[in-house]
Amino acid sequence: MRTIGALALFALAFGAAASDTDEARIEQLMNAPDKPAAPAKADRKADAKAAAKNDADTIASLVGQRVAVETRQRGIYIGTLTAATRDALILLIQLPARDLSYSLPRGDVAAVTPR
């Protein structure tokens, strides 16, 4: 019974702390609204792994193919990879009315997978 009580208290405290963190983050972002959010520390390890996985040669070999690009901020974009430079990946995204050349900063890319 005590264990359940302790667990409930922990859950409440954890929830409140997480909520407070989000509120603090919103305040921080409100003060700098147009700057993209800094990636979390945990993401940096993932970035390192992703960088190793998607080295320049691998990505270059996908040029001309339809790919899915995942970003560090949980984003995902699908299109034809038209160019892969050291700074950016260029995707050609087909839209109902037109095609759009969409640039993704290389530093934001977490993974590139063929579709």
């Binding site: 972002l29 984003g75 699908i78």
Partner: protein, 375 residues
């Protein structure tokens, strides 16, 4: 008319003077003379021989005034009928308005006998009433606009107020917001304010947007002014379609489906533009579904982010959406809707369950369809 008025004023003046004179003799008689009709006759007799309080002259004055007034009233018809020139002008104005008069009606209107003139005018009024009054006269043709008047409701302009006026009249709510009918409570964060559905609809109307019958309110940050049309806000909506089935969410497959779907049917509020990708891929933790879409606005090169977080319940979903945010504010947008969705709590028995409940409405779409806008 004038004679009637003058007679009435003379009568009133002498009456008041009589009351004052009697009042000086006896307060009771004064009050009774003022309030009881014809009591002045009692006072007249009572103080007939009292040189200080008799009202003989006043009674004569009232009599003369009343006579003049009655005489004036008897001749008011003549005044209303007006002079021959007035009546000629009246007949002419009727012709100009398209009212067709019979020769007899015209002759009667120009008659010197005021009773005949008034009787003809009354007959014309009855004719104007036409069918509704059941008049025996033949209907007089009138112009088409008069015969087919536009409905009053169409003529009356809709309530149009400016965005600033709508914003100024909005009431800001803090703290807990409860909707008993839905069975949900939202603990609005300290830095945010909520305006209710009627205020939110007024704001939408002021912006010329169609009415959203699913809206429950707007939530805005305290640092933003509601009067600023460019300030962002969170749309709070209730999707009352029933329990929504959860399905596995494969981000790439969902995006593929969403982009291939040429006839999207969004259940959440979205910007008017084409989907470029997910700025935050859809994820569902068993209670809250959230995602962010990057869109290219129609007929423009501007890109915006729409953020959504839905707290699912047993009878529907509570939607928190921000639309049209600059792409650089995607993190702010997503963090805000996610925080608000986590602050919403359904009451016991109304919370989301994984398995379809035995009774109650079931939504004709899944969690995945919400993110792909599948029909």
């Amino acid at each position: 008319m004038k004679l009637m008025l003058i007679g009435y004023l003379i009568s009133l003046l002498f009456g008041l003077l009589a009351v004052v004179r009697v009042w000086r003799a006896s307060t009771l008689d004064g009050v009774l003379t003022l309030l009881v009709p014809f009591y002045f006759i009692v006072a007249l007799i009572k103080y007939w021989s009292d040189p200080d309080h008799n009202i003989r002259l006043h009674a004569v004055g009232m009599l003369v005034g009343s006579t003049l007034s009655i005489y004036g009233a008897a001749h008011v018809t003549k005044d209303l009928a007006g002079t021959p020139e007035d009546r000629q002008a009246f007949v002419q104005s009727l012709h100009q308005q398209g009212v067709k008069l019979t020769p007899e009606q015209e002759r009667n209107l120009l008659s010197d006998d005021p009773d005949v003139v008034m009787a003809t005018m009354a007959a014309l009024d009855d004719q104007d009433g036409g069918e509704s009054t059941g008049s025996a006269h033949a209907p007089v043709p009138r112009d088409a606009e008069f015969d087919n008047p536009a409905p009053v409701a169409r003529e009356r302009p809709a309530e149009v107020i400016s965005y600033a006026e709508a914003a100024r009249s909005a009431v800001f709510n803090r703290g807990r917001y409860t909707r008993e009918a839905i069975g949900v409570t939202i603990d609005v964060p300290a830095k945010f304010r909520l305006i209710n559905a009627s205020d939110a609809r007024r704001m939408d109307r002021a912006r010329g947007r169609p009415e959203d019958n699913r809206v429950l309110g707007w939530i805005i940050h305290e640092k933003l002014a509601l009067t600023d049309p460019d300030a962002w806000h969170v749309n709070l909506r209730w999707l009352s379609d029933g329990w929504i089935a959860a399905t596995p969410l494969d981000a790439a497959a969902l995006l593929d489906d969403a982009q291939r779907n040429r006839t999207p049917n969004p259940r959440v509020v979205v910007s008017n533009g084409d989907l470029l990708g997910y700025a935050a891929a859809p994820q569902f933790d068993g209670q809250v579904l959230d995602w962010a879409e990057e869109r290219l606005l129609v007929n423009s090169d501007d890109r915006v982010v729409d953020c959504h977080a839905l707290r699912l319940g047993r009878r529907g979903a509570l939607e928190f959406s921000i639309v049209g945010m600059p792409t650089g504010s995607a993190a702010l947008c997503q963090t805000t809707v996610r925080l608000l969705a986590e602050r919403a709590v359904f009451m016991q028995g109304k919370e989301y369950v994984e398995a379809a409940p035995g009774e109650g409405l079931r939504a004709p779409y899944t969690v995945a369809a919400l993110a792909t806008h599948a029909p």
